[in-house]
Amino acid sequence: MFRASLKSLFAHKLRLMMTAMSIVLGVAFVAGSFVFTDTIDARFENLFSDVFAGVDATVRPDVDDFGAADASMDQGLLQQVLDAESVEVAAGSVGGFAQIIDGEGEPIGGQGPPTLGFSWVDVPSLNSLRITEENGRAPADDDEIAIDVATATANELSVGDVVKVQTEQGLDSYTIVGLANFGTEDNLAGATLTAFTLDEAQRVFGLEGRLTAIDVVAADGVDNTDLVASLVEIVPSGLEVVTGEQQTQEQLDGITEGLGFLSTALLAFAGVAVFVGAFVIQNTFRITVAQRTRELALFRAVGASSRQVTLSVLFEALAIGLIASAVGVLAGIGVAGLIKSGLDAVGVGLPDGPLTLELRTVVVSLIVGVVVTTIAAILPALKASRIAPVAALSEPVARTGRKSLRNRAILGSVLSGSGIAAMAIGLLVQTGSSLLLVSGGAVGVFLGMSTLAPLVAIPFSRAISAPFRGITGKLARDNTARQPRRTASTASALMVGVALVAFVSIFAATIKSSVGDTLEEAFPADLAFASTNFTVGVSPVAVGLLKEVDEVEVVSPIRTGIVSIDGNEVNVLGVEPATVGAVYDAKPSVDVSGIGDGMMVQVNVLDTTGRSVGDMVDVEYLDGTTIITTIVGTFEDPTFGNYMISDDVFIKHVGDDIAIAFADLGEGVDLEVGREAVATALAEFPTIDINTKSDQITEAEEGVDQLVALFSGLLGLALVIAVLGIANTLALSIVERTREIGLLRAIGMIRRQVRQMIRREAIITALFGALLGIVIGTGIGWGVTASLADQGLGSFSLPVIQLGIWLIVAALAGILAAVGPARKASRLDVLKAISHE
């Protein structure tokens, strides 16, 4: 029996390949996500092990998870460390923000990986940077710097060039005297590195006489544990001592966390692809079982049990799943390579080296592929087991039967209903498993809708095919209506992809219109200033310069950070009480100028905490102080955070970093004139972006559009699988209808008409799936945005044109899917088709 099903497998190579393809793509994505993540882990582990190889221990300020960047220690401590018996050698260093500006005045790097500045360490065993002889030397004077090889290469900089470097203190010119490698790499994950002399570094970071780290090499015979223990004794409180290994691990954890989002996202898309693939597999098996009715009945007639028939179909699925998953793992390595090159292309350089294929990747991918394929084949296999032996003798009839519509309606409604309920609970009730509930609910909705889809397949295909005139239109319509289950199940694969794409489009459109509305309402200021560098905000020095500009009436900086309230980390904003009202309308209940040492809380947040205005709250700051603070009022706009304090308190306990500053121009000052004036004043700060309100809206919209493009691209894979599914169904139904098509050809249908007929069938099926998808996607989009209305998604927007484009894309996808089958049908050997048996 197994041999028979294997034979049947290889007898239909095309069918095998098409079915397998849908599994290959899904599994490739799963494997690719794993390979990519493992590769990053392995590469960075190597890199950081190299970097910290010489460091036995490091003394540094004890910063907790909040990560205050400007903590430092007295430089005098270095001598104490050097004097310790357990220490062979030690070196102190400082680090901070530094950005190189190119000849055109444009900042180099910073939009993604950080731009790091630090002091050059003269002790080679403690310096992770290496400068080879042909690449110059270390900075020795205060106007010299060394930069990393990758940045130099990418920007055509070389030893001897003079560049400007932006720091918090302003802009200064330096001569590049050396190009350094980081460990064995040209570069650290795309970061731009600038090394100064220690004195200069202390100056530009505002850390005169201070250090941010002391790296230590243990004396002979002292192990790291003893070294750390002896150092802990001499360092004052507020500092900590960690080993090199610990630092390697910390860095790795940071990287893993940073890229964790990416690998989760990749796995989510892989999940979608596998889910869509399952539809295709189920459909293919259902059709092939139907087509093999006589063959399977013959097995039964010669003595195979119904159990054996079931198993033979499942075995076939297992075999396909196994082969396809194996191919998928190989393809996954390619996918990982593509992602890596993609990241390289956008400037996030990852350390070079081979891709890492863990046994776990192979095992998980194979299990996913085989299990999904086999589960998808269960229903068709059970159907096969119910074929009676007598069916071997009767002429196969093209079935038009409609099975128990009532049961189907009940099952579909229950599935969709519980899916919707799960999503609603996930969205509206705060539970720890919201994401699981929402995605599980979505799966329920998709399964439910695909169960219900056959009930509406006939009216839908009628409506869709209304513009199709002539006999090919009629035949195409009749063929899609002939087996509503098959049409619906084929369309369902496309439905899932289109629903997700439609959801993303709607979500994005709503974000865009909400952002526009919020900006219009809440930010009356003429100009906004933000840093183009992700690492640091707007320098307070720059805000000071802005206040001097004649054309500017008022400038107000807004700082954002994190504090802890009731044990939760929350976003807090620090505002300048006297000026904030002129530039930022958060709709406060009382004038912000009277905030004093108190705090204002976003009105909905205050409601959920059960507190009210006048209550006292314990606020824990980064620096370890806890201040009992009075709630003096509420505000509405949650853009920057839900807790507002004065900048006096903020600077003292959180930090000086400015997230964004706004300026309002004097009465009668032309917007362009004002912009020119502030641009001139900020010439020393090329990393600050000056935006008008319309710039801000455009910028926000561009950001959203990029995300939509990325998501749509990734969901495109699900569409490709769905298209394969349509092609597969068509190809199989053409085999079923060989005699019918032969007859049409015999009595005078030309090839072009045959192709048109098949193409129209594909378009009807594709549009059916796309319409269902858009309906579902719109429903989910509406639900999700409505439940997030509090968080600034109040303006639901239906991107009609974009959804229309997706419909057209679906129709085109249908045409594409029909190319092969239509060609095959039109080239059919008429004589063979009409000859009996």
């Binding site: 035949l475 009749d478 019918e740 049409l744 009595i747 005078g748 030309i750 004589l831």
Partner: protein, 250 residues
């Protein structure tokens, strides 16, 4: 009735000259048609008979433009089918030829009426409603027009096919064992209708059969053996056909 217009000129609806069709190669080579020359006069009902493998189906298929000759020529009217590409050949089949096959003649999703009108729908032409009514009433299907094939008996299905073959007023109708799957009563009904079409509408019909009773409905019987025409007989009866076949077999 202007059915005869194009045929008057030649009087021959279809003919084949030195038709050769070879299947297979080397040892297994079969000469399905081995130099067949034959005329089919307009307005006559011809039956082609012969044992299995005699080449009678191949003759029908090549005459109808469903299969190609390896050498020789075959004509519908004065059009040489052997020179035509797929598309003009398909158009000839649609406009000048009618078909009745042994089984699977109808598209299951279409009603009887739609099946009858199918060649016209494919051509995008409007039916001549007077002619349609005549054909439908002749085959006795007026009350079955809105049924689908699965709701019709085998005999009714074959009569729908025959009506379809006539609805375009073709130059010639080819029928391949049209009553082969029918009980004798339904078969007789169908054959009677075909003979009526020849008598009343001056239709030309060529039918392949292995059944002497079916052959007796024809005006002429052509006997084929090993790809060659070995004899023919005008105004056959069942008995004369059986006798002739016995002679051939001997």
């Amino acid at each position: 009735m202007t059915l005869t217009d194009s045929k008057v000129t030649s009087g021959i609806a279809a003919h084949m000259r030195d038709g050769v069709k070879i299947y297979g190669e080397g040892e297994t080579q079969v000469r399905a048609l081995d130099g067949v020359s034959i005329d089919f006069e307009q307005g006559r009902f011809t039956a082609i008979m012969g044992p299995s493998g005699s080449g009678k189906s191949t003759l029908l298929h090549t005459l109808a433009g469903l299969d190609t000759l390896d050498s020789g020529q075959t004509f519908i009217g004065d059009v040489d089918l052997t020179t035509l590409k797929d598309r003009p050949l398909t158009e000839i089949r649609r406009s000048k030829i009618g078909f009745v096959f042994q089984s699977f003649n109808l598209i299951p999703t279409l009603t009887a009426e739609e099946n009858i009108l199918l060649p016209l729908s494919i051509a995008g032409e409007a039916p001549d409603s007077g002619w349609f009514d005549t054909v439908v009433s002749t085959v006795g299907l007026a009350d079955r027009l809105h049924h689908r094939p699965s709701e019709l008996s085998g005999g009714q299905q074959q009569r729908v096919a025959a009506a379809r073959a006539l609805v375009t007023k073709p130059d010639i109708v080819f029928a391949d064992e049209p009553s082969g799957n029918l009980d004798s009563k339904s078969g007789a009904q169908l054959l009677e209708f075909m003979r009526q079409a020849v008598r009343e509408f001056d239709q030309t019909i060529v039918m392949v059969t292995h059944d002497p009773v079916s052959a007796s409905y024809a005006d002429r019987v052509v006997f084929l053996e090993d790809g060659k025409v070995v004899g023919q007989m005008d105004d056959p009866t069942t008995e004369s056909v059986i006798d002739y076949m016995k002679k051939l077999g001997a």
